[in-house]
């Protein structure tokens, strides 16, 4: 669980503007507004310094975005409920935290960027929440987007990165997930005064979820999210609960307080407080993946069949560009499964078309022994061309050349990833690395920095050696040991 002195409590808030703009249109909207205001009082009493918001109303498609404009100002009109009027706002954003969050997310393998543009459209859920719980702008805020395509693993990592940033800066932070519960709207016009949850089924599921949250069972809800989304069309797959659970700590040890649950145009709107503490519920055993580092692969190829009735087969994504191949967040690559009847040991060779440079001697790219995978030395040469990103260390006459060891390191680690994945393993399963440098004094610092970007969060053991030369005009080579198949790295 997160340090309660840094994260005193967390909240789930709804995303519709009715409690702010039309509290008198339905007693439920007024009840939600009162709950928001109570949340504001509790947050002020907690001594929090920062409101950290994940809002399903701010979708992103490539990685995640983090608001970093210090004083956004606008007159907001909701895309859906424009007849309810304007919401003029000026907010105080914590740009320092936004940048720290981006760095933390990046170091965990996520693609993330800060945004700082006048006129940026802050979403209705965030605007409503900040207006009601922080009306005097006493606290700074930070907002992170909800990636439309992110799965549970990616969202968990995003939550853990938030905790990294909170701990790094020592900010006393209240995390807030802005999300509806069931998210089906009325398909016929319904006056606000007659609002209700869209169906009995959705209402039943909402109440079950809130029963769990009321008992402080945050991790149980996080693991229930997929089923809830399926059954009740949960808002954005209920990703906000994944994020919140990962940030606060994946346990059921909270005190839950459901301050309000009401319909807003058919959707389920709830205000919930979670405070770290003892719980009567036992922690549920994990039955879903728990991820520390994002590997850039949403496995969208798995099970894909192509157009019906045709002869289409799934083809892998095109090979990476030849220069400066990315180390994380690449287009998906299908990982070779390990057969249950595979021999105890086998040599593994990876074709150039799959991205691995050809060996320069009589050896395979890797050898699997049981659950262990031993890689032959891997350098930066590019498959098919033998080009060396960052340039060779000497020319054909043996004359020394200037070269970029950082680029060589990136390329070599990208080749390591290629061989690992082709052999049924991954960077996250690496347990031991031996690095060979031809010039320790010149190259160690740059190599060390790139290495940290890739392995900093994975933490395999490492040995770095200075050697006289390598067989090709390269400056660096890695010797890697990893686990394969279902074996965990830690």
């Amino acid at each position: 669980m997160a340090d309660p002195t840094l994260i005193p409590n967390g909240y789930v808030l709804p995303g519709q503007p009715h409690p702010l703009l039309a509290p008198d249109a339905n007693p439920g909207y007024a009840a939600l507004r009162a709950a928001y205001e109570e949340v504001g009082r509790r947050i002020r009493a907690s001594g929090a310094e920062l409101l950290l918001i994940y809002s399903t109303g701010w979708p992103s498609v490539i990685g995640h975005q983090i608001q970093a404009l210090e004083r956004p100002e606008w007159v907001h009109v909701d895309q859906e409920w424009h007849e309810l009027g304007e919401i003029p706002y000026t907010f105080r954003m914590d740009a320092e935290f936004a940048h720290a969050y981006r760095r933390a997310a990046t170091s965990r393998g996520l693609h993330a960027r800060t945004v700082s543009y006048h006129g940026f459209p802050i979403d209705t859920g965030t605007v409503t929440a900040l207006k009601l719980i922080n009306p005097d702008n006493a606290l700074k805020a930070c907002v992170v987007s909800c990636n439309m395509y992110a799965d549970r693993g990616e969202t968990l990592v995003l939550g853990k990165a938030a905790r990294d940033a909170i701990e790094a800066l020592g900010r006393r932070t209240v995390p807030i997930g802005i999300t509806a519960l069931s998210n089906r709207y009325h398909t016929e016009p319904v006056p606000f005064a007659d609002d209700r949850i869209q169906s009995q089924k959705d209402d039943d599921w909402n109440r079950k979820l809130l029963e769990f949250l009321g008992e402080g069972r945050l991790e149980d809800v996080s693991q229930l999210a997929r089923e809830f989304a399926l059954q009740a069309n949960g808002d954005s797959k209920l990703k906000a609960l994944w994020w919140l659970a990962a940030l606060m700590g994946q346990t059921n040890n909270y005190r839950g307080d459901v301050l309000a649950y009401r319909p807003v145009y058919g959707t389920g709107a709830a205000v919930v407080e979670l405070t770290p503490g003892a719980s009567s519920a036992l922690d549920k055993e994990f039955d879903e993946e728990d991820v520390e580092v994002y590997g850039g692969d949403r496995n969208v190829l798995t099970g894909h069949d192509g157009p019906p009735g045709g002869s289409a087969s799934v083809a892998p994504a095109p090979p990476a560009a030849p220069q400066s191949p990315p180390l994380t967040g690449r287009a998906p690559r299908e990982t070779r499964p390990i057969r249950r009847d595979a021999p105890f040991t086998e040599a593994i060779r990876v074709a150039a078309r799959d991205g691995a440079p050809a060996p320069v001697g009589a050896y395979p790219h890797a050898r699997r022994v049981g659950d262990f995978l031993y890689l032959s030395g891997v350098g930066p040469r590019q498959a098919g061309t033998d080009a060396i990103p960052g340039g060779p260390v000497r020319d054909a006459d043996g004359e020394a050349l200037n070269y970029d060891v950082a680029a060589q390191t990136r390329a070599a680690l990208a080749n390591v990833r290629t061989v690992l994945e082709a052999a049924g393993s991954s960077m996250e399963r690496v347990i031991d690395v031996t690095s060979f440098l031809i010039d320790m004094d010149r190259d160690f610092s740059a190599y060390n920095q790139v290495y940290a970007e890739v392995f900093g969060a994975i933490q395999p053991t490492r040995t770095t050696l200075a050697i006289q030369a390598l067989p090709t005009p390269i400056a660096i080579e890695f010797k890697v040991v990893a686990l394969t198949g279902d074996a965990a790295a830690s």
């Binding site: 498609v61 009109v77 859906e80 693609h111 543009y117 459209p121 969208v300 994504a317």
Partner: protein, 296 residues
């Protein structure tokens, strides 16, 4: 008054990258180049439409004006302001100034309501027009010299299934066609859907670096080609039949209903469509396709 007509029906995708790469004076960021195949496709489309005269109005169905409480219509004569794309703010910060044909918008609204659809006019003058509308309209008519009608993408029925969502959009399209006919105006209809819609999980540091651009994977490409081939053969009914599956398999923006709306408005054309261009934008498939009812 003579009857109005649909001058062209267009599948007009709205990646902000295309406006960014065009460097219009209204957009703040500046690009070197990029996505030429699609931008040149829009040029071909503009020439094709111009050969048949200047339309009186552009009617755009925009996935980035998302609503759930029915189909909304811009109902204010004039809008001006700054549109910042919440997804790609680094590429699209566009100062827009546009006119709305409120009379026609109201007429489509009324036809749709009479057909039993849930509808609403948007009459708040402080409303910010969505970037999808601006992008599609700019690429089709960069002069901004004719009014638009903008219809939101209502998703309420798609929350139940793609089939019932498409049925709603087809009914909306048929209502649109009736209102256009009664208006006496010549309209170009813009269905602003991308095709396959899987995005890369990272983007290049230079957005217009075309060496990084390709369709997300071959399966997505095959689905897109299957759909485009049906368009080229004038097999609209078959498109409607496979659209729910297509949408599911490619996470396509057709889930926002624009293509179904267009096919309904065009009364399921049996004549071939002209594919002016197909290309990818950060992995998504995009096609500029024109149906000319004069070929029907």
């Amino acid at each position: 008054m003579s009857a109005g007509a649909i001058l062209a029906g267009v599948l007009a995708p709205h990646p902000p990258h295309l406006v960014y790469a065009d460097n219009p004076p209204q957009n703040e960021p500046y690009a070197e180049c990029g996505w030429e195949e699609l931008r040149w496709g829009y040029e071909r489309l503009r020439k094709s439409i111009a050969s048949r005269g200047v339309p009186d109005v552009l009617i755009v169905h925009s996935p980035h004006w998302r609503t759930n409480s029915g189909h909304h219509f811009l109902g204010v004569d004039h809008f001006a302001g700054l549109s910042v794309d919440p997804v790609f703010p680094n590429l699209f910060r566009f100062h827009y100034d546009l006119e709305v044909d409120v009379e026609l918008a109201q007429a489509i609204h009324d036809e749709a309501a009479a057909a039993g659809l849930q509808t609403k006019m948007m009459t708040n003058p402080s409303f910010r027009v969505d970037y999808g509308t601006i992008t599609a309209c700019h690429l089709v008519r960069p002069e901004w010299d004719i009014p638009i009608v903008c219809i939101s993408a209502s998703r309420a029925y798609y929350l139940f299934s793609n089939e019932v969502g498409d049925a709603q959009m087809i009914a909306l399209g048929q209502a649109t066609a009736r209102a256009v006919a009664d208006s006496g105006k010549n309209a170009v209809l813009l269905a602003s859907n991308s095709l396959s819609h899987r995005h890369f999980t990272v983007e290049p540091s230079l957005p217009e670096d075309m060496s990084k651009e390709h369709v997300y994977h071959h399966g997505q490409y095959l689905w897109d080609m299957r759909l485009l081939e049906l368009m080229r053969q004038g097999k609209s009914r078959e498109i409607v039949d496979i659209l729910p599956d297509y949408t599911e398999q490619t996470v396509s923006e057709t889930k926002e209903g624009s293509l179904s709306w267009l096919l309904g408005a065009l009364d399921f054309p049996t004549y071939p469509a002209e594919v002016h261009a197909y290309g990818s934008v950060i992995g998504t498939g995009n096609a500029i396709v024109e149906w000319n009812p004069q070929h029907g």
